[in-house]
Amino acid sequence: MEFRRPANLQGRPPVAAMLPRPVVPLLPSSSASSAVRVTGGPCNTAGSGGLHGNLHVSSETLTVTVASPTTFSANAGQRRRRSSAAKQPPPNLQLHHDSSDSRSRLGTTSGLSARSLGEPLPTIPGTPSPFDNKMGSRSPSPRPGGWSSPGLNTPYDTGGRVSPMPGFANGSSHNVTWESAQARSAEVKGYGRFAPRSQGFLGKHFRRISNSLPFSYAEKEKLGRGRYQGSKPLELLRHIGRSLWRLRRSVGVILAVLLTVILFYVTPLHRVYRRSIGGGSKFVVILAVNQGGGVMEWKGPREWAIERDSVKNKKKYTQKWGYELELVDMSTKKRYAHEWRESWEKVDTIRNAMRKYPHAEWFWWLDTNTFIMEPSYSLQSHIFKHLKDVTYRDINLYNPLNISHPPAEEYLDPETRSPVGDGKVDSINIIVPQDCGGFNLGSFFVRRSVWTDRLLDIWWDPVAYEQKHMQWEHKEQDALEYMYTNQPWIRPHVAFIRQRKVNSFPAGACGEKGDNPEIHYQEKDRDFLVNMAGCEWGRDCWAEMYKFRRLSDRLNRNPWEKFKDWISDSFKGMRADPKKNKKKEEQKKKEKQ
């Protein structure tokens, strides 16, 4: 395989030198050597007339003796050579010199192929070849009568430089010796005789193509000297890789941690965690559905849609944070329909929920017409971790009902007469938001406690109901207001919460404009929940629900969605701009006119 190299070094025509190169690696050295021996024979010994016959023989012997796939390529190379050589005068000496030169070089540089060929170096005079008896002592041919030139027989070489070979083969009659060939080659300067022929596309352009390839064996060997010489970013990458490998323990630990975190959030594991250890199971969301339905009126498609959206919203929320969701069918039942208690079931349902979830602490009542706008807020982080800061005990801070707050009767104990009860978080048992008209029980919290048991027990009372049910429009809500006002034991355990923390109103409830900063939903503040209170009285519940659902979806897009929307928006903006400009122009024109 190295035979071709000296040719290259000697400044042979580039095409001829380079062409065989890609073929070379295919050939095992052993097969190359065998090829040499076989074909060399006829060349020298027979010395018979034609190049044709000679080559013919060699090709035949090749095919016969060496049955490896590489021989076929060699064969092909020789055939090609034959055709071209027919037209060329024999340049035998020059070629001879070349091959000898290559051998000597080989001996110094690698030494491998020369030895593997099993031939004695021909340059050393007077060395008898063990095989050579008939021929002159100079002949290194392994076979009697045959003198082998490696250049001739190495198919790749010959395949590459087509023209010189036939020349040599042609002119090399049996009287050519090594010395004479050497002498002649010394006279010859250049290789002008052989204008390389066009040898097809590859032959013409191979060097250009191979130079433009991103890798080069030759250059690597010459310049790199075993060291890798890459581009800077590659070097940097390698450096990073190496240092990572060196730090594989610590990096591995970090990666493991990262992987754990990712797995924690990808799998439902985080829900389990939030539920049990995060205390999610301490919270129960009670959602009233089917309000006023059943006996009294049938639900239409809009009502179904509202209910579906509302339930879906809460289901998602409770699942995310590991809370319990209790759906309560509030349809007017026979049980209540002809009794005094009609539509006072709120109290009963809370008590049932307390029985059903014996380990839960806080119960959050929600009406159907509510929508959680920010599902990313947990109840703990939003309210219960800083209960003292988000709630207020003294109703005088915001007192739409004008309840005279600390009870003045002097027979009461100091705790009851204090405006803030005992002022401790532990004593808060119910958290109520206040809207423009007083307490609002569309969204409120109750805590499991003995006190709450008593409140829920006394909340509905037949005497109170009998006397007040005509004037208590909001039923249990009015009843709670009444009890708060008239039964002092309740006050130290009630805390109020700013309405927009848990119960923002849309425009239309408590003011048409929706601009009250205490009451109405503010998009920029990302309010937690919207309660479309009173939408069934002359407003469009479904439209409001739809609007807020869309708004919530939009506000809680993930970054990828935001990016997509930003692109589409900017396109829309670009499209809209010309229109605007046109409009402006039109307006200007009109103004001018």
Partner: protein, 324 residues
């Protein structure tokens, strides 16, 4: 300098030095040395002890802080509450007061006397005043456990019996409790609970022939008492025109609200409220010698308490003189 060669290594090389743990997390040498020392144990113990002490102090302080005024049960065990009609005969009022004070002195109890005009009743019958009066007594004596309302129409006839052990001790209450009895005789569907624990009872009450009688009842101090008294005193009941005012209101809330019924112990009438005359409970309502209390139902309304009680007051005076 003096040695051309470095000194020989010892022929007995030291055993291999402990290899640092290459695998796990590398602990800085200083920290490792520190951890190895016994000092650390001392420090941990000291810190833990300090925290424990803090926690103990915090616990005690916290409990003290929660009811900064008083802890229930540290004061006199019983406070006897009586409300008088301000127009009543002063001499008779004094006699009644002396009757209570004598009893309270014997057993280390307290008395609490007020007139019904002191409380804002807003046109409701004066008999309602007992409810805010009880609340008032609890405000003024927050460390006492039991508050015994004894109407001015009653007399303590056997002052030697301490009410605490005679009636209010949990084991005694469990024995005395009348269970599964209609709250309002003869056939109310609401019956007293069957299995209540004596120490969970917050309200001790008697029943005469017609129903519950708030002439004489005992309430345990606490959150429940506030709830019960405030709910009872709700203006909606006062303005409702119950036929017998607070009595019917009481019967109403006991029957409708389980959280009240569950704290109520109904005991035989002669334990707390024996009738000298009137609609006594057929089984055990009539006054007999040795009963704690003798009641003259309705005498306040009739304005004839002084006359009706005369014989009994005389007996008490004689006994007092005899014992002295």
């Amino acid at each position: 300098m003096h040695f051309a060669m470095p000194p020989r290594k010892t022929s007995r090389p030291p055993p291999y030095a402990a290899r640092q743990s290459r695998g796990g997390i590398q602990i800085p040498y200083a920290l490792r040395a520190f951890l190895r020392r016994d000092k650390l144990r001392t420090i941990i113990v000291a810190v833990l002890g300090f925290v424990a002490i803090l926690w103990l102090f915090g616990f005690i302080g916290g409990r003290g802080g929660s009811s900064a005024a008083a802890i229930i049960g540290t004061g006199p065990p019983v406070v006897i509450v009586t409300v008088f009609d301000p127009r009543a005969d002063a001499a008779w009022v004094e006699k009644i007061k002396a009757n209570r004070e004598d009893y309270a002195k014997r057993h280390g109890y307290l008395t609490f006397f007020r007139t019904d005009s002191q409380y804002p009743l807003r046109n409701s019958p004066a008999s309602w005043a007992k409810v805010p009066a009880m609340r008032h007594a609890m405000t003024l004596h927050p460390s006492s456990t039991w508050f015994w309302y004894l109407d001015s129409s009653s007399l303590i006839m056997n002052p030697s019996i301490p009410i605490t052990s005679h009636v209010l001790a949990p084991s005694r209450l469990e024995k005395l409790m009348i269970v599964n009895e209609p709250v309002v005789p003869p056939d109310s569907v609401i019956k007293t609970f069957a299995n209540l624990k004596g120490d969970r009872i917050d309200l001790v009450l008697t029943q005469d022939k017609e129903g519950l009688q708030p002439n004489s009842f005992v309430v345990r101090n606490g959150e429940w008492a506030k709830y019960f008294l405030d709910a009872w005193f709700d203006p909606i009941y006062r303005s409702y025109n119950f036929q017998k005012a607070e009595l019917h209101a009481l019967e109403h809330i006991v029957q409708w609200h389980g959280t009240i019924l569950a704290k109520l112990a109904m005991i035989p009438q002669d334990m707390l409220n024996s009738y000298v005359s009137g609609p006594a409970h057929p089984k055990n309502g009539q006054y007999k010698e040795g009963d704690l209390v003798a009641t003259f139902p309705g005498c306040v309304k009739r304005g004839s308490c002084a006359e009706e009680m005369k014989n009994f007051l005389d007996i008490l005076e004689k006994r007092a003189a005899g014992s002295d």
